[in-house]
């Protein structure tokens, strides 16, 4: 089965968000990475001061956030949120 890309994709606009991570609050539970519907998050190479890998946006996917706020809702530590980009 071939998967076809719709021909009029360019006409469809989706809301854009910018993910902001408060790295020092993160405890590496991974919920945001698991739940992001666009799968744009991954663990950082770096550690935060508590010694955890915090989420970062994958390289090249900075414009992919659709402002659904799943990460913000699911984070138990209020360590991630998204801001709407107009």
């Amino acid at each position: 089965m071939v998967i076809r890309k719709p021909l009029n994709l360019a006409k469809f606009k989706v809301p854009k968000g910018r993910v902001i991570v408060l790295a020092e609050r993160c405890k590496e539970c991974g919920l945001c990475i698991e739940y992001c519907p666009k799968q744009i998050l991954e663990y950082s190479e770096d550690y935060n001061e508590k010694g955890f890998h915090y989420p970062v946006v994958k390289a090249g996917m900075e414009n992919e956030c659709i402002f659904c706020l799943f990460c913000q809702e699911i984070c138990p530590d209020f360590a991630i949120f998204s801001e709407k980009e107009e």
Binding site: V2, R4, P6, L7, F12, V14, I66, F67, C68, E73
Partner: protein, 660 residues
């Protein structure tokens, strides 16, 4: 008892094989037969008159007519005998055409003997016949139309204009069906939407039509005049009364998925209307693709954007019960899945498309705005190959029939393609061009001649990819050459098959289907829009592949049948129903279990002095269809179908088997 036997020649159909004179002579010697004769066409006006005159003149009490199948003319002859005061159930038809002369045309002597036995059996049966009166039941003057395509809309409008209430049920979020997907219609090149959308709007605003979209018929019980229907409305997650159709929700929805209406060639959001002219113009949230689930609502962007607060994530499926007197099935067609057409690269190469997909590419309201583009890279194809009979007329694919519409729509698509891509080349592979319809042949000739489209007679053996081209290998049987065409795009005309769910619906309504799943009519010429189930009518491509003009004609025909039913005072049912002999019935309940129509209930007798109240079976006459299952299972011969009693059938069989 005075029985008259009338034997029909049916021109040469019967008399050409069977010795009719011999039949008359032998039949006149049968017990209680006072008169036997033959006639060239009994179904003709003078033929019927002959029967009537003899009944009156000879005071006949019972009549046997040996002619064609009772399916053909039972009603004709019943009307004739009734005209002179004879109860039509004292008439028996011996089928000596379909059951005898047609199948034994090579053995005339044995055929004559068989015909005589059939007549003898009919005489034996009619001797035990009782006069019966039709059963009258009250009539609910409302109609259910299943399917909101052109067939359903036309039927609903015609019935509603006749003054009766109609429920028009459609499975998808909008009325319109496949016709709404088409670009232009052949042979006039009218824009499909321009014809259809006014009808959709008219149906939606008609005071007699209740349009129920995004809903399915779950269950239907009852009989002609009184059907009880359960309809399940799927949750839209948008409150229709509040939705204004503004589209603010769609703008903010972050999920983009392929649009089924555009055959996946265009996109839609998870909250959507399938196409801008949708009726009703109410958005539908497709929870399968939405980021939310019924249990977890996180993304509320549409909810926040909706001014009138029409979105409700907690909506549940809703069941509604309605009562109607008649049902029209107009469930339409689907195309054979393209994945089934592997030899043409269907489902393998993105640039092999179906006719319906090509319609979307040609449509001004389609995903490309009417510019034909390849699904793979969006380029405008400069060479297009059309392959007709992709699956049709091909027993290998299970569709030996002709899909009827493909020759015409392929010609139309090739023409429209040439209009939008004037420097493009179009090739059409065909077996035959079947253009039987008003102005159809002229249209095809114009396409072949004026538009410089190459028609190649022959089949395609293989389609495969070479770099970014599709290579079509075929045969041109007129020049006798093998052909190789390097095309940018291949358009298949897949076989037309019944729409998904037709089989379930047919089972629910006890309507028979043919071997391909299309709904069967009672008789293709005499009763073309009626199903075998009384009160259930057929319209459109669910019955057989047909184009829009034919569909509209059949839809209006179905509507007129419904109107003539509803203009009667009561619904009339055949009195061929089961009767219980209370004295013989032992109340075992076997028949109650066996009855497929649930027409039998087990009841107790009224109180009797000093005696035990006995249990016995009771038949609901209006529900009984006279199938005879109860009669076959009853050990005490206590239940009998009127007109086909145990005694009658055994007399008939005995007469068939015994030698003179």
């Amino acid at each position: 008892m005075r029985i008259g036997v009338f034997i029909c020649h049916c021109g040469k159909n019967i008399a050409g094989v069977v010795d009719v004179k011999e039949l008359v002579e032998r039949a006149s010697k049968l017990k209680d037969v006072v008169y036997a004769t033959d006639y060239v066409y009994l179904c003709s006006e003078p033929g019927q008159k002959e029967i009537q005159e003899k009944i009156e003149e000879l005071e006949l009490t019972h009549v046997v007519i040996a002619a064609c199948s009772p399916k053909m003319h039972a009603t004709t002859f019943a009307r004739a005998v009734k005209g002179v005061g004879l109860n039509p159930y004292l008439l028996e038809i011996a089928n000596i055409r379909e059951h005898c002369s047609w199948v034994h045309h090579d053995k005339p002597e044995i055929a004559t003997e068989k015909a005589f036995r059939l007549i003898k059996a009919a005489v034996a049966k009619v001797r035990l016949a009782e006069p019966l009166e039709p059963i009258k039941v009250p009539l609910t003057r409302k109609v259910l139309v299943i399917g909101g395509g052109i067939a359903g809309i036309r039927t609903a409008l015609d019935i509603a204009n006749g003054g009766f209430e109609v429920y028009l049920v459609e499975r998808t979020p909008s009325l319109g069906g496949h016709m709404a997907q088409l670009s232009e219609t052949f042979p006039t090149l009218d824009c499909s939407a321009c014809i259809l959308t006014p009808l959709m709007v008219e149906a939606a605003h008609h005071k007699n039509i209740h349009v129920i979209t995004y809903a399915e018929v779950k269950n239907i019980k009852g009989i002609i005049g009184n059907f009880k229907v359960t309809i399940e409305k799927k949750p839209r997650y948008v409150i229709p009364e509040k939705c204004t159709g503004c589209g603010d929700c769609m703008d903010v929805c972050p999920v983009i998925v392929p649009n089924e209406f555009d055959q996946g060639l265009g996109a839609r959001k998870a909250i959507y209307v399938p196409f801008p002219q949708a009726v009703p113009l109410v958005y539908t949230l497709d929870l399968e693709n939405c980021l939310n689930t019924q249990k977890l609502v996180v993304c509320e962007q549409c909810y926040k954007a909706c001014g009138p607060r029409a979105i409700n994530y907690l909506m549940e499926p809703q069941e509604i019960e309605i009562e109607v007197g008649a049902v029209v099935i107009a469930t339409g067609f689907d195309l054979l899945p393209i994945e089934n057409l592997k030899e043409y690269g269907g489902g393998k190469y993105p640039d092999v498309v179906t006719g319906l997909e090509f319609e979307r590419l040609l449509s001004a309201s389609g995903p490309t705005g009417g510019v034909v583009r390849r699904p793979s890279d969006g380029k405008i194809p400069k060479r297009v190959v059309f392959i007709q009979c992709a699956g049709s007329r091909d027993p290998e694919h299970g569709c030996p029939y002709c899909s009827k519409i493909c020759c015409m729509y392929t010609a139309k698509q090739a023409l429209l393609y040439k209009h939008v891509v004037p420097d493009g080349e179009a090739y059409v592979f065909f077996i035959d061009v079947r253009a039987a319809g008003k102005r159809y042949e002229e249209f095809v000739q114009r396409v072949m001649g004026e538009e410089r489209i190459v028609y190649l007679r022959g089949k395609v053996s293989k389609v495969f990819q070479r770099e970014d081209k599709l290579v079509v290998w075929g045969a041109d049987t007129i020049s006798g050459m093998a052909v190789e065409i390097e095309a940018d795009m291949v358009v298949l005309a897949p076989a037309v098959v019944p729409s998904k769910g037709t089989a379930d619906l047919a089972k629910l309504l006890k309507v028979s289907v043919d071997e391909f799943g299309f709904l069967s009519e009672v008789h293709p010429k005499l009763r073309p829009v009626e199903s075998v189930s009384p009160g259930v009518y057929l319209a459109g491509a669910a019955q057989a592949p047909k184009d829009i003009s034919e569909t509209a004609a059949q839809a209006s025909a179905a509507a007129s049948k419904v109107l003539s039913l509803l203009s009667q005072k009561e619904a009339t049912l055949e009195p061929i129903v089961a009767h219980v002999d209370k004295e013989l019935c032992i109340g075992c309940g076997l028949c109650w279990k066996a009855c497929p129509f649930k027409a039998i209930t087990m009841v107790r007798e009224e109180k009797r002095e000093g005696k035990k109240r006995r249990r016995y079976a009771k038949v609901e006459e209006a529900v009984c269809q006279g199938c005879g299952v109860c009669m076959a299972i009853c050990e005490k011969k206590a239940i009998n179908v009127a007109g086909f009693t145990y005694d009658q059938l055994s007399a008939q069989v005995k007469a068939l088997l015994e030698d003179e």
